[in-house]
Symmetry: C2
């Protein structure tokens, strides 16, 4: 089996200490480069309005990995595979979020709409290019719209 | 230093054998679950139109990691940090792309707009929820628009 080894490149600093389902929209997070990373990786980042943040759910235990589940354990939702939902209890424990870049200073950026808690290790930061966005309308099932109503 | 160990959860099958800069839009890729993964991880995936595919640039050598560069080595572009571009030569070698889901059958999905070559290991698959998309217009520098003109 192929094993891939990654290291944290930056870290999240914000006011949310414990995992929580909803109300991420009001939180401003700082993303601070790891001591091993040179400040130059952020050069010109302010020319972008949005970033994609790939992070690691380091608090998720290894032994809690359902292959499918009803999202949030809600009995009215359908049974859904882990690749058809964004639940944190997933193999490889990778989180992903599009954030608004608010400011950049030295080794730190300030972002909005990040759904990661304080201390979360960041695996990558990518600028959003318009051309990578979907060309057609997004279709999603009704349970997603219901689940997301208070998320941001 | 914290080390994070991941394994491939699925693999890319398509007609593109070598890395290439442009014209990804015409390629239909299959994503096939790794033998270790249960088919149930894909349950209900067809209720989504778009997916985010997180993959690993396994062909990128470890010793080729500029912290900043002119994108594609083009002298007319500015010097840009690796977190302000989507270039594959990046720490942790993670790729990310939003794809259109075309079909699902058993352990395989067919997708369009994936910019990964044949044999690429997949680290995660997430459905696109509308609510995770940016609320404001995307702003990007001119060099991105130029660089992306033949990408898809």
């Amino acid at each position: 089996m192929m094993e891939i080894r990654l290291t944290p490149l930056a870290w999240v600093k914000n006011s949310r200490i414990k995992p929580q389902d909803d109300h991420w929209g009001d939180i401003i997070s700082e993303i601070v480069l790891d001591d091993e990373m040179s400040e130059s990786v952020l050069l010109e980042i302010s020319s972008f309005s949005h970033l994609e943040i790939i992070y690691y759910f380091d608090k998720v235990p290894d032994d809690n990995m359902p292959l499918s589940r009803k999202p949030r354990g809600n009995p009215v939702y359908p049974q859904v595979g882990i690749f058809a939902q964004r639940n944190k209890d997933r193999p490889n424990k990778i989180g992903l979020c599009t954030v608004e870049l608010i400011w950049h200073q030295g080794r730190t950026i300030g972002v909005k709409m990040l759904d990661a808690i304080d201390g979360t290790p960041i695996l990558d930061i990518k600028p959003v290019y318009k051309e990578f966005r979907e060309k057609k309308d997004i279709r999603q099932p009704e349970w997603v719209t219901d689940l997301m109503k208070d998320y941001f």
